[in-house]
């Protein structure tokens, strides 16, 4: 990835989670990026951390772009294709901004934890105050810069809040190894803030999970 692309990625407040995720990945590890798009994160990880990376992406355009760049990416989706990977095949199984678009988020997270020693999941927080107030005040399905779709054409079918996600980790016996909450223009919320504050002001969350 060129310096310029790196700068663009870091400057894109919507995808600052990729930077955060990259920070959690240890050098030289084996990584599966589920919903890898055009392979931007894989490329970043390969160049900066020397990881052995693989990707899964639904859109043909994304896959072709990634493969044409020399990345190992298959066309598929989290719901169907994660089943085929063996236990512990990767050090990190990453799901960035894709959880809310899967049919069975719980099964997907369980599979991530089965396939990877660590699962890294980033998702938009539906508990954010802007979203709450749009719904409360206007009584309409919320549309934000992070979540720009109308209800009828959104790929996002399973939104959750940070608190919902915490509940899920408890239900599937996942251990939270680390977590980062992002707000504003990609700023990190203080680690000591209570979950309720994260849930109200966080726009995105990144969780690092392991099998409990």
């Amino acid at each position: 990835m060129s310096e310029m692309q790196l700068a663009t990625m870091a400057a894109d407040p919507d995808r600052v989670d990729l930077r955060v995720i990259a920070g959690f990945v240890s050098p030289g590890s084996r990584v599966l990026d589920v919903g890898c798009g055009d392979g931007a994160l894989l490329k970043l990880l390969a160049q900066e951390k020397g990881v052995d990376g693989r990707g899964i992406e639904l859109s043909q355009r994304g896959v072709n772009q990634a493969v044409a760049e020399g990345l190992s990416v298959i066309q598929g989706d989290a719901d169907r294709d994660l089943e085929t990977y063996p236990d512990g095949a990767f050090d990190f199984a990453i799901l960035s901004q894709t959880l809310q678009a899967t049919r069975n988020p719980r099964t997907v997270v369980e599979n991530l934890l089965r396939i990877g020693r660590r699962a890294i999941v980033s998702f938009p927080n539906f508990g954010n105050w802007r979203i709450r107030s749009q719904f409360m005040v206007w009584g309409r399905m919320p549309i934000t810069s992070n979540l720009p779709y109308s209800w009828y054409d959104t790929p996002n079918i399973h939104f959750c809040t940070i608190k919902d996600f915490l509940t899920l980790t408890g239900e599937i016996d996942a251990k939270i190894e680390d977590a980062v909450c992002l707000y504003g223009e990609g700023k990190r919320m203080t680690q000591t803030a209570p979950w309720t504050i994260w849930n109200l002001f966080g726009e995105q969350a990144v969780f690092v999970l392991s099998r409990g």
Partner: protein, 390 residues
């Protein structure tokens, strides 16, 4: 139907023992999967580009059922451009300015490699059905001997579509340490029941032709042209798609204003298929068609691994790029995806692209920019990892 006077048949017959290409004769036994062995054999092949000093830039292209070694040069019999000249050549995705490309006629073929039309060393007559049945693994075994003789220890890549894709998969399973990258295109880990069925229709058409003479037609100076043409016509439909046929031919009539209320070729599609049949028989040996379709039928990678395909790939160290086409119903995406899933399960390094097209199975031979982009990108990435200079 009249198969016509064979314009190219004599030229094609000459290719069987003395091909217009490079030819490697092996004065050694080749053990075959069926239990028999060939006392000696020869492989006709073409090369393009230059082998680098450390012999690390060789790409083996495997051809499909009716292809041959003339992948990127004018065909010596038909005079047409090589069957994959869009893919292979200077500046093409498989760039002959950069890679040393080898393409060999398969064992069982009829363009110079040992096949049923070749002379049986035991009696000097064409083998006909005395040639033992050949499998895809036998083809690959013979190719590996050729690659040995060319002094190449490890191929940079093995690439092929359809039956060529089967050879690619077999290479990766039989010789994992000799294949750096593998590109199986529009193929399957085993021939499906439906495809065996289609092949059987083709074989029955050949064998029902009285001029097939129990396979001994060459010795008797005959040719089962009508039977082979029918086989080709039926097969050709399976290479296309319903929508491609509809767009190309619809219900259009051939050189006439109205239906004739007879059995002449009223429709363009009939005329087209008849033409395909006729031109095919001029360049292809009927017994070869039987042997090669049989090789495809017998192909089942998982068979030796108690049906578990992932176990077949267990030792596979190659980087894979599997490619399918959305309208291919002969080797549908689902079959190709099963290869991907098994490779995933075995922990292999795999990419997978489904190319959106309405051109059916034949798409792998046609001008499909998405296919070319994928192949060249994948090869570029693999070359970087392999340490091949730009």
């Amino acid at each position: 139907m009249d198969a016509g006077v064979p314009n190219h048949a004599t030229a094609a017959a000459r290719q069987v023992d003395c091909p217009s290409s490079l030819c490697m004769a092996f004065a050694e036994t080749l053990a075959l999967d069926g239990g028999d062995a060939l006392p000696s054999f020869q492989i006709a092949y073409q090369v393009y580009g230059t082998l680098n000093a450390d012999k690390s830039n060789a790409i083996l292209v495997c051809h499909a059922l009716t292809g041959d070694q003339h992948v990127a040069n004018e065909h010596p019999v038909t005079g047409k451009a090589g069957w994959w000249s869009l893919m292979v050549g200077p500046g093409r995705p498989i760039d002959t300015d950069r890679y040393f490309v080898i393409c060999a006629n398969v064992l069982g073929g009829c363009m110079g490699s040992t096949g049923p039309a070749s002379s049986n060393p035991a009696n000097g007559e064409p083998y006909a059905l005395d040639l033992p049945v050949i499998t895809v693994r036998d083809m690959v075994r013979a190719q590996a001997r050729l690659v040995d003789e060319l002094g190449i220890e490890k191929l940079f890549a093995v690439v092929g579509g359809s039956m060529g894709g089967m050879q690619v998969l077999q290479w990766a399973v039989s010789y994992p340490e000799r294949v750096f990258a593998a590109i199986p295109i529009a193929t399957a880990p085993r021939h499906t029941s439906q495809n065996i069925g289609f092949n059987e229709v083709g074989r029955q058409a050949v064998m029902a032709d009285p001029d097939w003479c129990g396979g001994k037609y060459l010795t008797l100076g005959k040719r089962p042209a009508k039977g082979l043409a029918v086989a080709r016509m039926a097969a050709h439909i399976t290479y296309l798609s319903e929508s491609a046929l509809h767009h190309k031919f619809g219900r259009h009539l051939q050189d006439r204003e109205a239906l004739t209320f007879g059995f002449d070729a009223d429709f363009q599609i009939e005329s087209y298929l008849r033409h395909q049949g006729m031109t095919f028989v001029e360049r292809f040996d009927a017994n070869s068609y039987l042997y090669l379709t049989r090789a495809m039928d017998y192909f089942d990678l998982a068979k030796d691994y108690r049906g578990r395909l992932a176990d077949a790939f267990r030792g596979a160290t190659s980087r894979f790029c599997v490619i399918s086409f959305s309208s291919d119903w002969l080797f549908p995406t689902a079959e190709n995806r099963s290869i991907v899933h098994s490779l995933n399960a075995s922990g292999a390094n795999v990419s997978f692209v489904e190319v959106e097209t309405d051109r059916g199975h034949d798409a792998f031979l046609l001008d499909e920019p998405e296919l070319f982009r994928t192949v060249s990108g994948f090869l570029r990435g693999a070359a970087r990892v392999r340490g091949l200079a730009e």
